[in-house]
Symmetry: C2
Subunit: 77 residues, 2 copies
């Protein structure tokens, strides 16, 4: 995971790689299911062979402890 500063908003971001589009989209759906369960939603950028997952907290315009927890849970999917 890297920490990105986008216009002053800190975000946690990691790229996950896959052998094709279908497996990338399947991962997007897994992260989406986790997001719905927890009520906290990332940005998911799905392409052929990769998904970039970006976590941050809109309310505080930056990173909360929960974003780091969600990043760890994303790794465990």
């Amino acid at each position: 995971w890297s920490v990105e500063d986008r216009d002053g908003v800190l975000q946690l971001e990691r790229q996950f790689e896959f052998p094709d589009f279908a497996q990338a989209l399947a991962f997007t759906n897994k992260v989406g299911e986790l997001a719905e369960t927890e009520g906290h939603h990332p940005k998911l950028t799905t392409e052929w062979g990769s998904v970039v997952v970006t976590w941050w907290s809109h309310k505080i315009k930056g990173l909360h402890r929960n974003d780091f927890v969600m990043a760890a849970r994303t790794d465990a999917l």
Copy 2:
């Protein structure tokens, strides 16, 4: 749809809005299904309430007639 120039690569892009995360992700999956059927894959950026769909042709590093066809088919989903 707008045409974006990203480091000299022209891309067709449109943002679709939804009332929540689940409906955004459902649309991502619809576009994904279309992409798999046609063997041409966009970038899909899914967030709470929106999906940004980006079409371009990697091989020619720009826009082919097929990208415009896929954009029209995305609108029809």
